[in-house]
Amino acid sequence: MLQSGRKETVLDLAKFVDKGVQVKLTGGGQVTGTLKVYDQLLNLVLDGAVESVRDHDDPLKTSDQTRVLGLIVCRGTAVMLVSPTDGTEEIANPFVQPEAV
């Protein structure tokens, strides 16, 4: 039970160290990389980071373009989501409506 007075995170990132993670950021950006270091504020150090570039015309869509960033620091204030890449796969869009409505 997380009832201690200490500020603990619900997810201990220690088990993700040296593993691939996907990080989604407020503002819509998305980065995948190997988690090397983290702190209590959720600042992250990712190695071999690849940024998914969003569609120029529609910021809500991610295009297939990627950008290799390398060793980066992700600001904890911008981190919205951290998930492991292992066990994650891309599927066909289940929300796409048929063309003829």
């Binding site: 950006g29 980066i72 204030t77």
Partner: protein, 89 residues
């Protein structure tokens, strides 16, 4: 850097090692800045020098700013040591 124990190398220490060299700051929106890092504070507000500003939406229109700027850490998302502004695929 690989020789250090990862549990002791905080992200803020990695930023600290960039002081004096080029760094690329990616904001939460579609803006990036590349410049020489002079310093930062606990909120990661940053002082940058010889800064080039990039807008990602308009295919990278550049605004070059000289001297020193104080960059508000509120909207900083990613820091890339080394700059490398021409890596857009």
């Amino acid at each position: 850097m690989a020789s250090n124990n990862p549990s002791q190398l905080l992200p803020s220490e990695l930023i600290d090692r960039c002081i004096g060299s080029k760094i690329r700051v990616i904001m939460k929106g579609d803006k990036e800045l590349v410049g020489v890092l002079k310093g930062f504070d606990v909120y990661v507000n940053m002082v940058l020098e010889d800064v080039t500003e990039y807008e990602i939406t308009a295919e990278g229109s550049r605004v070059t700013k000289l001297d020193q700027i104080l960059l508000n850490g509120n909207n900083i998302a990613i820091l890339v040591p080394g700059g490398a502004p021409e890596d857009v695929e």
